[in-house]
Amino acid sequence: MSAAQDPVAVPARRISVRPARGRFTTALKLLLTSPPTLFATLVVAGVVVLALFDELIAPTGYNEVDVQQRLLPPGQGHWFGTDDLGRDVLSRVVLGAAVSLQVGAVAVGFSLLVGVTAGLLAGYYGRWLDTVLMRLMDVLFAFPAILLAIAVIAILGPGTTNAMIAIGITYTPVFARVTRAAVLGVKESVFVRASRSVGVSDARMLLRHVLPNAAPPIIVQTSVSLAFAVLAEAALSFVGLGTQPPAPSWGRMLSEGRSYLEDAWWMAVFPGLAIVLLVLAFNLLGDGLRDVLDPQQRSALEAARAKPRRRRRAGVGA
């Protein structure tokens, strides 16, 4: 059968199936020309650098107690002031970055691995596997996020590692749903049908064809979930279920600062600002990535502008 006789085959050849290298650089350029995204990228990069070199950057160790220097306001020597034990707040904020990032990365990595696998299998194989896996995810999804995390920690016991597991379990269903939806879209596309017809194995099909093409919404979700995970770690540590003292954790520092609100506002203000900045950066990065990678999910304004193009694309798929 020649391409000309098969109306489906023509657009299939014209659409580039896998992102070409050119598209990647365009995406990167687009990302960096949007001021909020650039800001977000810089903040995330900055926090990563802080976390990597924290012991070089922080003026003091995380638990250098000096009771004579307790509750000093921000100023010379202690830019962010000192806490109730005379520890340098700036140092603890800097050293807390690694904890936040680590918990975020491990927890989201867990959700990503489990959720994407579940979503991939459910979406691709469908039928009973879909039903079983997705109902399971529905069950997890029915728990309010923070409460599920708290319940998991109630069982595992408090601590940083258990907080990672708890947060990871909590955000798994989102990844399963996002992946499944994307796979359903990709599964029926012409190139997948074509690959199947030439006998590509399931494993190869899933990893080489389906997953890369379903990736954009998953990447966006990863950034947004990192924001949630940082918030969740802070919340868990705040109520005493996450990172345990004396390790520096932004959430923990907030709960300590709460007891000294009237005497030492800086104890609660600076760790909070650090959380806001990192979470904001992940959220903005998610928005920026969505605009570039996943145009159909863009805000209505952009969608309205892109309408003619979208219609044409819908026509091709039909």
């Binding site: 109520v239 609660a268 209505a300 309205a304």
Partner: protein
């Protein structure tokens, strides 16, 4: 419509059963004897035996689960390991505080979101839009408990306008009830409001671009009439769904804000149950949260299909 309602209700029941199995399994995965752990230093053989028997811990797990779930259906969630009070009573006691906070927060959220979101959408890329976008972006990035602490610092500490925490029942003193409600409700309302603002903006924008709006304008309707009759009616419809989800979240997810404001709600009850290893209370609270969450979602779905005649399949 009825078929849809039935099918959705059935789905929710199945999910809820799944939730109950997970909750039950979680609690019984714990190493050691939950009753002994809960009693701690207050251990005495008689109470221990009584509680074990009351909780049915001497039975096989499947029997225990079936007993628990069948009494849960009738509203009996067992007794607290700590206080010996029925779990249902403990939950009901906390309900007014949680409902007050959730209701007030949703009100604050909508009062922010609808005007700000609509104004942003009507003048995209204006100062209002930019401000709205920046504020809502920051709003969803701020940890609620930190926002609470900052509000306490400013309005309870420096200015002294509102109490820093605590709850006054409505029946006791309506004025103090309202005052005690302001700071926690603004805290959660600002965050929920940020989510809803973003949603309102994109929803109104989408409605503005619809063809019937162009037609309405073309036939010479005034801007206000177009906005009220053709834009907002359609745009605010999907807002019902998102507001419902926010409400479900507020009814169950504000554990940490309750801690900040010493608010005696359900979240605090659940957290205290975790800290005291009071598993019957934890089980009951989590099951109730999931139930509320599913129920609100179900109602919202059905309401939505009722409001929007296009969705009826």
């Amino acid at each position: 419509m009825t078929a849809l309602a039935l099918r959705r209700a059935l789905q929710s029941v199945v999910v809820l059963l799944g939730v109950s199995v997970v909750v039950f399994a979680l609690v019984h995965l714990v190493d050691g004897d939950p009753v002994r752990l809960a009693l701690g230093t207050r251990f005495d053989q008689e109470t221990y035996e009584a509680l074990r028997e009351r909780a049915g811990l001497d039975q096989p797990l499947v029997v225990q689960y079936l007993q628990w779930i069948s009494s849960a259906v009738t509203g009996d969630l067992g007794v607290s390991f700590r206080s010996g009070e029925p779990v249902t009573a403990l939950i009901l006691e906390r309900l007014p505080a949680t409902l007050s906070l959730a209701g007030a927060s949703i009100l604050v959220a909508l009062l922010i979101a609808v005007p700000l979101g609509t104004a942003s959408a009507l003048r995209p890329r204006s100062v209002v839009d930019a401000a709205g976008t920046v504020l809502s972006q920051i709003g969803i990035s701020v940890p609620e408990f930190w926002m609470g602490i900052m509000l306490i610092l400013l309005f309870a500490g420096t200015l002294g306008w509102f109490p820093a925490g605590g709850y006054v029942p409505l029946s006791e003193d309506p004025l103090q009830w309202a005052r005690s409600l302001v700071l926690p409700a603004v805290t959660t309302g600002l965050v929920s409001g940020s989510v809803l603002t973003r949603f309102t903006r994109s929803s109104v924008l989408e409605a503005l671009g619809a063809e019937h709006v162009r037609t309405a304008r073309a036939k010479g309707l005034g801007a206000r009439a177009v906005l009220n009759w053709h834009v907002l009616r359609n745009a605010l419809l999907p807002l019902v769904t998102v507001t419902g989800v926010q409400l479900a979240y507020l009814l169950s997810g504000v554990v940490v804000v309750e801690i900040v404001f010493a608010w005696p709600g359900l979240g605090q009850l659940a957290l205290q149950a975790v800290q005291a290893r009071d598993y019957p209370v934890l089980q009951g609270a989590v099951l109730l949260f999931a139930f509320v969450f599913l129920l609100v979602n179900l109602v919202v779905d059905l309401l939505y299909s009722k409001l929007d005649p296009r969705i009826s399949a």
